[in-house]
Symmetry: none
Subunit: 429 residues, 2 copies
């Protein structure tokens, strides 16, 4: 997941309802209740229960195949083989690297469909050890929860639907997509909705990302990301002392950025995330590179922060060129936009939101609406009903090397029922 | 060379003399004049002339054996074989990696000796292509001038002394040492003067480093180098926004450091040289590492700067822990000293300095005194008369991938006579 679905604005649905007129019933609640009471759904859940160990084994297998941004292919091939093994039709890897398989419904071939996605990529760079360490019901590994558990849960759904012989009205497109994290900049989703062969058929979209089964991401947090190059002449640390240093310009910019006040609501954030530069301790560096991430629930606040940041860069450049000698060269500061995600929102009263909320309640959870930056940003920006939901189970420390999940069956299984019920209610049975 | 012998304080000897009373003559001038006029010296120079192509071939051979810091062994073995081939006695590699051979004088065995050194290591990391490209009289390759030419010149001296049948009074210890550049932190010299078998016998020391035959490094620029670890909890750029960021602490420290005013005389410098940290644009980093180099001609100024820098680090740590939430962890800033070179000076009136000056003048150069950070720092700090001199010839861009030297014979040879005359005058003939 891209935006901390665990820690953003959270509104219980009831509170949302209190903000305005209570939403009119639209049948979502009843449809979900009918589904979860059905023998077919119960049979599917029984299969999830029976094959839970298999699902956990799939998490381990897939986690241990590294999938850094732009290097998802090995994991993609493994998922493709698993989708085929589950009997999915038309399994393929698209030119961007998304792996997809279609589960036909009873409707006409080539009609509208529901897409259900989990992402292959992790935030972790090449070389990160992704070996899973198990302690009791806990699995520790980078990427184990974000988003490998979701991939395994998706495979378990395919298996359970077949075991329970459930036929949906719409086709369901299961997608293991690429490019969700940072530098990927939602490239998988951009392809799926911009160029992919199913692009005009998707009428509803679920991203399963992260764990919280009560969380419903209905709003897309927008982001702008920059890679900033600070360049100067460089030289000997002693012999050339007194010349401008791109490191000092970078430091000045970051120091100023961290003085910027942003609103808590709409939530707006920034992060100086990655830095590198210099070749040896006895050389003034010629190049320093900084990566910065800025996000907001509000397009207006994001634009404001973006403008402020660009002004800070100009100021840092001018400051360094004034502070030290430019006799052998000046500092230049060049920001390059490396990521831009649209801001937007599925209506909190849209059927897809109500359906997930009903499914969460049916499993005993109190649904919570949140805003985040996820694969759903792309369909949301296109006006396609889309939400991001969780795969269940406990866990923590996503995006850190000590990431972990808890696969203790009762809670894991209960969480898994939410996505399945919401998917079936949306696809129709 | 470690400290830009090309670009530090340069005082013509005449100017130095003007600063106080003219130094009393001590016989250095006459001794050098007598040597350069002697048939033996002329025969040696004739040999340097005759075997100049061989010296150039040695430069190429040795440059093309990479010698990154701590990885000098292959080059060391090649130099050892060449020293043996030149008939030097007691050729050996010491446990640190220095390669040495003794040329016996007429004095008693085991008595005082003169050491003459050039360093094996280059600043270039493993994997750097060191293939020499020749264009006319120019040789291009990383490390070709710093300090490989000096190694070849040292071998040529050994050959010429034998060809001219010159006997010195003192033994001469020829040393191809390790660890002169950055991270090596003068480890070769520390061993030679701290533990080596000749450590109590060295009464005078020459380092031949770089090209300028008129330059005499008599003062040791001291340095302190730190690798600073900025550590924090890390987390999701959006979800965990508001927590402390080690990048912000690093930036605050660098920004403050670059406000520090240091004296131009005694020359005192700092450089924030290398930085790295962060794993992905959408994560608040857990670790940022910064390397800083500080130098001064004055031990007192260096200590002052060092204390100021350490205070800045403490301040940056406190500032960041106060500016943002420490709920999931605090910022810790941990400096590690990775380099420390002593400050000091051989008296500009010491015989060894006057001798080199006289040898430079005898070759038609105007001697220039400078301060730098070189292998001579170690003997200087121990009170042993020591200077660093150049090997002659033209060149430029030391410490860069486009380093080059010009081996056009007339100028190359003229430069080589300076070191030979100074060595003979110091060892006595």
């Amino acid at each position: 997941m891209s935006a901390g679905r665990f820690a953003t604005v959270v509104l219980p649905l009831a509170a949302l309802a209190l903000l305005g007129a209570a939403p009119k019933p639209d049948g979502s609640e009843q449809a979900v209740q009918k589904i979860v009471a059905s023998p077919g759904f119960k049979a599917a859940v029984a299969d999830l229960d029976r094959t839970h160990d298999r699902m956990v084994a799939d998490i381990v297998t897939l986690t241990e195949i590294p999938a850094p941004p732009f290097k998802e292919a090995a994991k993609g091939r493994a998922v493709m083989a698993m989708m085929k093994a589950e009997g999915l039709a038309d399994v393929e890897m698209d030119p961007e690297g998304n792996v997809m398989g279609l589960r036909r419904g009873t409707g006409p071939a080539g009609g509208k469909l529901v897409a259900f996605a989990a992402h292959q990529d992790t935030v972790f760079p090449e070389g990160t050890v992704t070996k899973v360490r198990r302690e009791g019901t806990r699995l520790y590994a980078p990427g184990v929860g974000d988003d490998t558990r979701s991939l395994a849960v998706m495979l378990a759904y395919i298996r359970a639907l077949d075991a329970a012989k459930i036929q949906t009205r719409s086709d369901i497109l299961f997608v293991a997509d690429v490019g969700e994290e940072g530098p990927g900049d939602l490239r998988g989703m951009r392809y799926l909705f911009g160029k992919g062969k199913y692009k005009d058929r998707i009428q509803a979209f679920f991203s399963m990302d992260g764990l919280n089964p009560a969380g419903i991401t209905y709003a897309a947090v927008g982001s702008r990301r920059y890679r900033v190059s600070f360049h100067g002449p460089g030289g000997h640390s002693y012999g050339a002392f007194g010349i401008v240093n791109p490191m000092a310009a970078m430091a000045h910019a970051v120091d100023e950025l961290y003085e910027v006040k942003v609103p808590a609501h709409p939530k707006t954030t920034y992060s100086a995330s990655v830095v590198s530069g210099g070749v040896s301790v006895n050389s003034i560096p010629a190049d320093v590179t900084l990566e910065v991430d800025m996000r907001s629930e509000s397009a207006e606040e994001l634009a404001k922060l973006d403008a402020r940041f660009l002004a800070i860069l100009k100021d840092a450049e001018a400051h360094e060129n004034a502070a030290r000698s430019t006799g052998v060269g000046k500092i230049t500061v060049t920001p390059k936009l490396i990521g831009e995600r649209p801001t937007g929102s599925t209506s909190p009263e849209a059927p897809i939101v109500r359906t997930v909320a009903a499914a969460a309640r049916a499993a005993g959870y109190t649904p919570q609406l949140d805003a985040s930056s996820t694969d759903a940003n792309i369909p949301i920006s296109l006006g396609i009903p889309a939400v991001t939901i969780g795969s269940g189970g406990g866990g923590g420390r996503a995006h850190s090397l000590d990431e972990w999940i808890d696969v203790a069956k009762p809670e894991s299984l209960r969480g898994m029922t939410v996505g399945l019920a919401a998917l079936l209610a949306t696809a129709g049975v």
